[in-house]
């Protein structure tokens, strides 16, 4: 049982998830994927409070001091891991997107509490970054010769900066080239749309976006 984060497995799992759920455009919708994942019940805090007959404030009050964006509980029942994911519907979209992607990571990676918390947290967050900002999409944008913008990457302000930092930190983590190629092909029609109507793209000089390009220029799969 490894006690260190397996980042390659996390990145690969993110890419496999995008393939399996036929994600062909950005932004990626982690909540849709989570709701389609077997063995998982997904509810907002409000829905959960209504289901169990207490008010939302009471539910949140029980977990005072913990993540207020989303959390996952797990139990093995009849030999299968069962998950309940609760999330805060009132979050700004970019925070919700990140939080849900992180919880999805716990589930896709089969976390069951048997490994240290820091390890599984790092893996789940790594999964989230690779799910929300797939390198093959950035590469496809570059190869199409269109600008890297928030529209083309489908990343919301406040989200892409962290994704880029995450990618830079994990520069040496590689996903199988065949998997990357599949994803590039999957995203190709989406990217082509922008190539056909690049006039709608608002190019700004946000340094984080510019850095995506230079990062990928120096990244070899």
């Amino acid at each position: 049982m490894t006690q260190t984060p397996d980042l390659k497995r996390a990145a690969t799992a993110a890419a496999e998830t995008l393939v399996k759920h036929h994600v062909t455009s950005a932004p990626v919708a982690p909540l849709r994927i989570l709701k389609a994942t077997p063995g998982v019940i997904v509810l907002s805090f409000t829905e959960m409070a209504e289901e169990i007959g207490i008010n939302r404030g009471e539910l949140l009050g029980r977990y005072n001091g913990m993540n207020k964006d989303a959390f996952t509980v797990v139990k093995e029942i009849d030999g299968n891991l069962r998950y309940i994911v609760l999330y805060n519907l009132l979050l700004p979209e970019f925070l919700l997107q990140r939080a849900i992607a992180r919880e999805l990571g716990h589930i896709v990676l089969g976390h069951d509490g048997s490994r240290p918390e820091e390890v599984r947290t790092m893996e789940a967050m790594f999964f989230a970054r690779h799910l929300l900002c797939p390198r093959p999409l950035i590469r496809a944008v570059q190869e199409a010769g269109i600008p890297i913008t928030i529209e083309t990457l489908g990343l919301i302000t406040g989200c892409y900066e962290r994704c880029l930092i995450g990618m830079q930190k994990s520069h040496g983590v590689h996903v199988a080239p065949e998997l990357n190629a599949m994803l590039r092909e999957q995203f190709a029609p989406y990217v082509q749309n922008f190539a056909d109507c690049r006039a709608i793209l608002t190019v700004n000089d946000d340094s984080a976006l510019v850095n995506f390009g230079s990062y990928m220029d120096n990244y070899e799969e």
Binding site: E16, L43, M66, T72, V73, H106, V108, P116
Partner: protein, 130 residues
Amino acid sequence: MSVGANIKKRRKQLGINAETLAHKLGVSPTTIYRYENGGIEKVDSAKLVQIADALNTTPGFLMGWEESENEPSKQNNIEQALSSGKKADKWIMLTKWFGNMEMPEFDMWFNAISANHPETERNDDDDTNP
């Protein structure tokens, strides 16, 4: 032992009176006595969780399912998180918090919500969980 008797036993163990417990729960002392003496026979799950919290124990103990009345301490949780090989035989928190915090209330809640929210069925070719 009934739920009411367990509430009373735990309250006495902690040395707190019914008024103090009532104040913590935002109910009247009479309500506490009614819980303890069976005047209110059915304690709903949400209220049971509140009472367990106020008495620093678990709903499972009050229901008579668990022998230990003490809630696991955060230190124990951290130690548990650092141990390896333990499967999730109880509901535990995965998201970063204080280690593998046990969430016994989800036993009751899971039953309540699973009826209304059937999970996506597993397919034979499903490989979501490696």
